[in-house]
């Protein structure tokens, strides 16, 4: 049982609510900081991929989980980030500038895509962003002078402060640093007026606009910020892939990103991290599982997507709040330890208004 006594106003907006959180986050930071000494290169690469997914997920979470706008086309922003980053690197632009420019470029494209999207809600917006993703895919495969078309485009080797990014350790730390920076940026955005206006739009557009929030501008801003984060992830993803081709950024990638935020738990940044771990590591885990299975069972074709889908369905049925929802329940149990009321999260047969997240 913990009771936080607030003695100054700053505590209301503190990122860490109490010393316990500080301790555990510090422990986590030390753990991921020491990972390169513990893990071999393969796992380090997988972990970097998880971080990249998480950065893209932050972008999508801001849009889907906090602003309530569904996007089925985020692979397009990932692609725009990746291609523009690789293109700039290829023309001799130094790495940090190229990455920043790719981020900015994605954000601008995001704002432009956001403009017509303002008139659409729900399923229509999903279809519109899907159309955008298909257009981008077509552009990537036909604009050969820039993107190399179907042949693809090699990502030039980059250097940062004299260290090659080909080394998995350097790349790992780069991804980690950018993830932490993105998380802090998103957290600060969300505890400020901009983030609150996003949440207000998600919950009630009428109330939001009558509070003086400019709907069009705010939605377009949400799109731009979301696309910016995803573009940044795209830039890192380019280095992870090493060779860009249009088939790395398909509809399936968009759906995977969307799954990540839904499985992680809509409306929470914790959910992004959990979702990224889920999406990034589960295929590997299933592959390992396949090795331990008896040969007859292991040779079933489509085992991985099957198990993946099954876990997903079970989650949606039993834990609609995602992995973060489950995490919160476990944490509350320990927080209130002797006094935890088992009925806290018991659900009625129909959804209540407070449980609904659009």
């Amino acid at each position: 049982m913990r009771f936080v006594l607030k003695t100054h106003y700053g505590q209301d907006v503190d990122l860490f609510k109490h010393s316990g959180q500080r301790f555990w986050y510090a422990a986590l930071a030390i753990m991921v900081g020491l990972a390169p000494w513990i893990m071999d290169d393969f796992y380090l690469g997988e972990l970097s991929l998880v971080f990249i997914y998480a950065i893209a997920g932050i972008g999508l979470m801001l849009l889907v989980g906090y602003t309530g706008l569904v996007s089925l086309g985020h692979a397009a922003f990932l692609a725009i980030g990746a291609y523009s980053h690789a293109y700039l690197l290829g023309h001799g632009v130094p790495f940090p500038v190229a990455l920043a420019a790719a981020t900015l470029f994605s954000a601008v494209i995001g704002a432009i895509v956001g403009l017509p999207a303002l008139r659409m809600i729900g399923i229509y917006l999903a279809v519109a962003t899907l159309a955008f993703a298909i257009i981008v895919e077509q552009v990537l495969s036909h604009w050969e002078s820039v993107t190399g078309g179907y042949r693809g485009m090699p990502v030039p080797e980059a250097e940062l402060f004299g260290l090659s990014l080909m080394g998995s350790q350097t790349f790992y730390y780069l991804c980690l640093a950018l993830l932490v920076a993105s998380l802090l940026a998103a957290l600060n955005l969300l505890r400020g007026p901009t983030g609150r206006s996003f949440i207000a739009i998600r919950d009630s557009e009428i109330s939001a606009s009558s509070m003086g929030i400019h709907l069009a501008r705010t939605k377009s801003r949400a799109f731009a910020i979301s696309a910016g984060f995803t573009g940044l992830a795209g830039g890192l993803f380019a280095h992870k892939l090493g060779y860009l081709a249009p088939d790395a950024f398909t509809l399936l990638t968009s759906i995977q990103l969307l799954l990540m935020v839904v499985v992680g738990g809509l409306g929470s940044l914790h959910g992004v991290i959990f979702g990224a771990i889920f999406i990034g590591l589960l295929p590997q885990a299933i592959a390992f599982l396949r090795d331990t299975l008896p040969p007859a069972a292991a040779q079933i074709p489509g085992l991985e997507p099957g198990i993946f889908g099954l876990i997903l369905v079970l989650f949606l049925i039993y834990e609609p709040l995602g992995i973060y929802g489950r995490w919160r329940k476990i944490r509350l149990f320990f927080d209130e330890f002797p006094l935890y009321r088992s009925a806290t999260y018991r659900r009625q047969k129909s959804y209540l208004r407070t449980e609904r997240v659009r």
Binding site: A343, R346, K349, S350, L352
Partner: protein
């Protein structure tokens, strides 16, 4: 006489929050029974528990001798309980006619057409708008449509959740009159949840007063109307002190 509907010690929760704390009530056939109370007293939760939209954790609900505790709402509706939900909830994209036909969804008899005319008879202002999408109706008309839709089920018991919500005093009067007429002419038993105590006490036979999840008073409406607590809390009458002002020294609560 046997009660048509009987709730015994019903306790319903929203997660860990106990919304109704052991409510028992009875509704006899062809009566109008009203449940009064302030916001958050648990009135709507009582109705939702009866219609099966929520499950009680304790207690039982019996309807005409059958236990209907925690049945699914569609089954409860088939037994003849029509729930008119709070805030009307008409189907906005269906026409008035289609909305009413939805009310008769479970019926297989030939009387549906006749009942449709009956509803239009009771609500003449709907009759001119048969083909209009229900979303275009005014608030009062939507409430009439919601009641009419429930009537199409030929219910034994109608659960009315705040039919006066957001209506002008004149429309409240009109709706009250129709509820009363439905009760006397069509023999529909009503369980009415209301904030508008004056209207509810006017038209019903028996009343329950709820406060924070409990029934604190139950009596026939004549006696409730004359009870001083009801007069003070719900009908807005104040006893004046000697100095011509209201005295706050003794503030009565049931808590």
């Amino acid at each position: 006489m046997d009660a048509l509907l009987e709730l015994q010690n019903v306790e319903t929760y929203y997660g860990p929050i106990m919304a109704i704390r052991g409510v028992s009530l009875k509704v006899f056939p062809q009566q109008i029974v009203s449940v009064l109370g302030a916001n958050g007293a648990g009135k709507t939760t009582v109705l939702k528990t009866i219609s099966g939209a929520m499950d009680p954790r304790k207690g039982s609900v019996r309807f005409g001798g059958d236990a209907i505790t925690a049945r699914d709402p569609d089954q409860v509706a088939r037994l003849g309980i029509a729930h008119v939900p709070e805030g009307r909830e008409v189907f906005p994209f269906l026409s008035v006619d289609e909305n009413l036909r939805m009310g008769a969804f479970t019926r297989r008899d030939s009387g549906v057409r006749g009942d449709l005319d009956l509803v239009y008879d009771y609500f003449p202002s709907l009759a001119g708008q048969r083909k209009l999408a229900a979303g275009f109706l005014s608030g009062g008309q939507q409430q009439m449509l919601a009641i009419g839709r429930a009537l199409m089920l030929r219910p034994k018991l109608m659960l009315l959740d705040e039919p006066s919500l957001g209506l002008s005093p004149r429309l409240v009067h009109e709706i009250a009159e129709i509820i009363q007429r439905l009760n006397t002419e069509q023999k529909v038993t009503m369980l009415l949840v209301e904030q508008n105590a004056k209207m509810a006490l006017e038209i019903s036979h028996f009343g329950y007063v709820m406060e924070v999840g409990r029934v604190v008073m139950q009596d026939s409406c004549e006696r409730l109307k004359s009870a001083t607590d009801i007069q003070e809390f719900y009908l807005g009458m104040k006893d004046e002190g000697v100095r011509g002002r209201r005295r706050w020294k003794v503030r009565k609560t049931w808590r």
